[in-house]
């Protein structure tokens, strides 16, 4: 079975580590512990409803408002990306645009999906922007909460399905 590399990108503190740990370990912590470099999680899963087994290495990448040269090296060979934004921020989207643009430019044709995170404490103030991003990157967006677990697994599964559908 092929093991797919999935990278999780976004500004710092938006909840990348929390989303991954919710998905892989089903746990959550209030405490912010910044990620240094990369943290890899190997995870085997079954896609709900289809009985398809998948094997993933999820890359938790140190956050930044703008992707650095090192970020570009980290994403080499990725089959898909989760772009995370913190919906409690004044402007959650500019860091998401930058990360998504960088990923698409480096790996054209590879799917991504958008995690509109901290949905337990925030409402999306600019749904038009979400619609524009979805159209621009031909992707799905999920109002996730690492705290409650809302939409977290469905989001990773959606990305895995897109990867399989594109025969990557």
């Amino acid at each position: 079975m092929k093991t797919y590399k999935i990278v999780v990108l976004g500004d710092f503190g938006v909840g990348k580590t929390s989303l991954i740990r919710r998905y892989v370990l089903d746990e959550f912590s209030d405490e912010y512990r910044a990620t240094l470099g990369v943290h890899l999680y190997k995870h085997a899963d079954t896609l709900a409803g289809e009985d398809i087994e998948i094997s993933l290495v999820v890359w938790d990448i140190e956050g930044a408002p703008l992707p650095s040269g090192q970020t570009k090296r980290y994403i080499v060979g990725a089959s898909g990306a989760v772009i995370v934004g913190d919906m409690t921020r004044d402007d959650p989207f500019s860091a998401m645009w930058s990360a998504a643009d960088m990923f698409e430019e480096a790996l054209p044709g590879r799917p991504l999906c958008l995690a509109l995170n901290k949905s337990d404490v925030a409402v999306i103030e600019s749904p038009e922007t979400v619609t524009r991003m979805k159209r621009r990157y031909d992707c799905n967006a999920f109002e996730t909460s690492a705290l409650t677990g809302d939409c977290v697994t469905p989001m990773f599964h959606d990305l895995a399905r897109s990867i399989l559908a594109r025969g990557l």
Binding site: F12, A34, L36, G37, H39, L40, Y41, K42, G77
Partner: protein, 372 residues
Amino acid sequence: MTELHSDLVLDALGLLAVRLDDDLIVREVCGTFLTVPTGTDMREFMPALYGLEDALHAPDAYLTMPFVQIGNDRDEPVALTVRRDPDSGVLWLFLRDVREESEMQRQLVQNHNSLSLAQAELVKARNAAQKADQAKTAFLANVSHELRTPLHVIIGGSSILSKPRDTPLDPQEVTDYALDMHESGVLLLQLVDDLIDLSRSETGNLILYEERCDLTEITRAITALCEDIPEARHTTLQCEVPPHPVWMVADARRIKQILLNLISNAIKAVANLNGGEVTVTLDPALPSLTVADNGPGMSEEEIAIARQPFGQPRAGVRSKGTGLGLSIVDRLVTLHGGEIVFDTAPGKGLAATITFDPERSRNDSKPSQNVS
């Protein structure tokens, strides 16, 4: 160097060197700080290599990552370097123990990020405070304006009435001045009452005195009272209530206030119409109360403005009243755990429906003293 010697040197540096074949299988290991058996798939040991197979086939393959942590617990980080020796074509992978430097680095990143996040929070809070401040200033300007108009009427009228004159005013004129002054006084009192309600609800001091009350009775009484509003002269006012009491735990005085506000708004909306109609309906099911009119209706934006204190949805069209009615209704309904929905469109009339929490009309629900 003998094999033993190279192991010693590599261990002293906290380094592991692994020779890989083109399928990324471990062929040779130097150093002992980690145990990697030969013959294993290096990707299983270092999952960072998944996805990099193609990149590593390049004759000049070279990649390096300063901090890599693996696994589901707080594993120790390593620095990873993979390079193909351009002369021999052999693929080498190096792992270095970076436990000490990584904790220091991570603290730096943590401090930097936490500070940035705190700063962003502060900016956000400052912007919110500025917005609230602007809203307060606008509110104060509105209050002063609303106070000034009736005060002018009272001061102007009383000064005319009190001045000695050569030809005395005729009795009708005196009555007119007195009536105007009285009306302005009533409006001022209403304005002050509304301001007190509003400020209490903002500071959480608006207290509901709850009891079991009969919505049928309240709806009937308030509709009847509204028939006496002067603007209602040419309006058909209908009251549709069930033929039995509808009990609910609520502050009866506040429910009356809500209804009075909504019905008098509706009456004002149709006052200039031929065939204006206002219907007040009590649906015992939830229960819910609806006040509907066949007036000009409002757009979504107009409704949003009307719900603001002093909001005048129609530019240039000032309605009579304090301009605070709807924002107070909003708060009173919320305090009762209810919800208000406006069904309206320009030219389509307006129906305001308040639904209450069904818990409140259960037989065994108990009145409580509720502070906002």
